[in-house]
Symmetry: C2
Amino acid sequence: MGWGTNEALIIEILAHRNAAQRKLIRETYAATYGEDLLKDLDKELSSDFERAVLLWTLDPSERDSFLANEATKKLTASNWVIMEIACTRSSYDLFKVRQAYHARYKKSLEEDVAYHTKGDFRKLLVPLVSAFRYEGDDLNMTLAKSEAKILHEKISDKAYSDEELIRILTTRSKTQLNATLNHYNNHFGNAVNKDLKTDPEDEYLKLLRATIKCLTCPEKYFEKVLRLAINRLGTDEGALTRVVATRAEVDMHRIKEEYQRRNSVPLDRAVAGDTSGDYEKMLLALIGHGDA
Amino acid sequence: MGWGTNEALIIEILAHRNAAQRKLIRETYAATYGEDLLKDLDKELSSDFERAVLLWTLDPSERDSFLANEATKKLTASNWVIMEIACTRSSYDLFKVRQAYHARYKKSLEEDVAYHTKGDFRKLLVPLVSAFRYEGDDLNMTLAKSEAKILHEKISDKAYSDEELIRILTTRSKTQLNATLNHYNNHFGNAVNKDLKTDPEDEYLKLLRATIKCLTCPEKYFEKVLRLAINRLGTDEGALTRVVATRAEVDMHRIKEEYQRRNSVPLDRAVAGDTSGDYEKMLLALIGHGDA
């Protein structure tokens, strides 16, 4: 991309701009270089730094549609990324991702997800990405109790992809679902995610537990993704960049709190210890983005 | 509702107003009578005339969310109405129905549909109402051929609720689906709906055929609904009012053409022969709504 030696300037400029400002920058970039940033993303990126810069510079709904599309492709397939986008964005933001997906890929998000997944994964992921959940605080306790009972029956029967279980997780509002899972915990003695841990190696069960975590306490989910990305042998830069670029403007503050609590070390210090050069500087700038 | 003797005036005023003008009227109604028209709809309506007036006066997305909600309720349940709304509205209009559903019912459309349906009907209807289909003209002929083959295999096996068959019908764009069904017809010798007529009494198969009709030639679907509503012993006013009120501003002209062609009698004459009084006058005004 020929940015030459201006990395420090790029970090200085981009990392401290909000979404509206970055949109302007992107338009200027297109006018100056005659190329769209999104196009550059499609090319093989030469470095983690460039990927971080490009992801960050995109509009949130374009960024998510790009990540979701990548996650449906064979070589970069990831059920987790699809689930994460479907479950941690607001209902309307998820809809905007679906609109951006139409515009860019001339297809629908759910059509690609349905086409590229199968079995239990498809049964869970297609309704997740198609959902437009109600977001009010309205709560039906009778329903929460009866659906906690359904969840308990299905999980006791190890019917983890039962259509009733999937219906509840994929259509109920987060407020309603939270009440249902609290009742489950109070009434049946275990948190639902504990009862879903019968086989720790089962990939579908892992995704199901992560889904529940994303829907009820996203900052804990993101803390864990970061922890695993940093602590493993050879950093998982894909996950690290994704979480930092997508959460910097949303809930990074709570993720940092959660990270500190769980790891007894601040997130920025953990990231600094695991990355280097411009990539490190960019991530640290984004992690500190919301700070005054 | 105490409209007294002003029915002629109501017809005169309302039936000739477009959606924006009716919105104004509705606001005036609320200011004058201190009540929302939608609220009145929830009451037992005393006549077909009143229901026609109220349905027509609503904003299209409110009207559809009202009809869809009614269709998920026990006493007024209708898989057909749900399917019709999901398949004959544009992608964005269907999304607006989902937004209106949140606002009015404090729940999501798909959550009510999923909760109130089961078995094969649920498997088909939930993805239909959750879809945000791509609407461009882009077409993948290789895909059309391979998916026509999948449809043929599943239908030959009588696997009518197979997940692949449902995936294709519920996620592909109407343009893409049309190409797939054309290839099916050319390559396997029958229209898909002919092959789906193995048991003419099967309710799920009827709904499946209607779904395909709605997705590929809605005016033929609506012509048939009108024909059956008018020709049966005792008019089906529910279906008649619904189709007239929801299509008057959309494709009534094509539905009238189709009706004339199929029945050798103009739609307005058929309606006039089957209804009477203010109800008749209101329907005829709406059927002629688009005419100069």
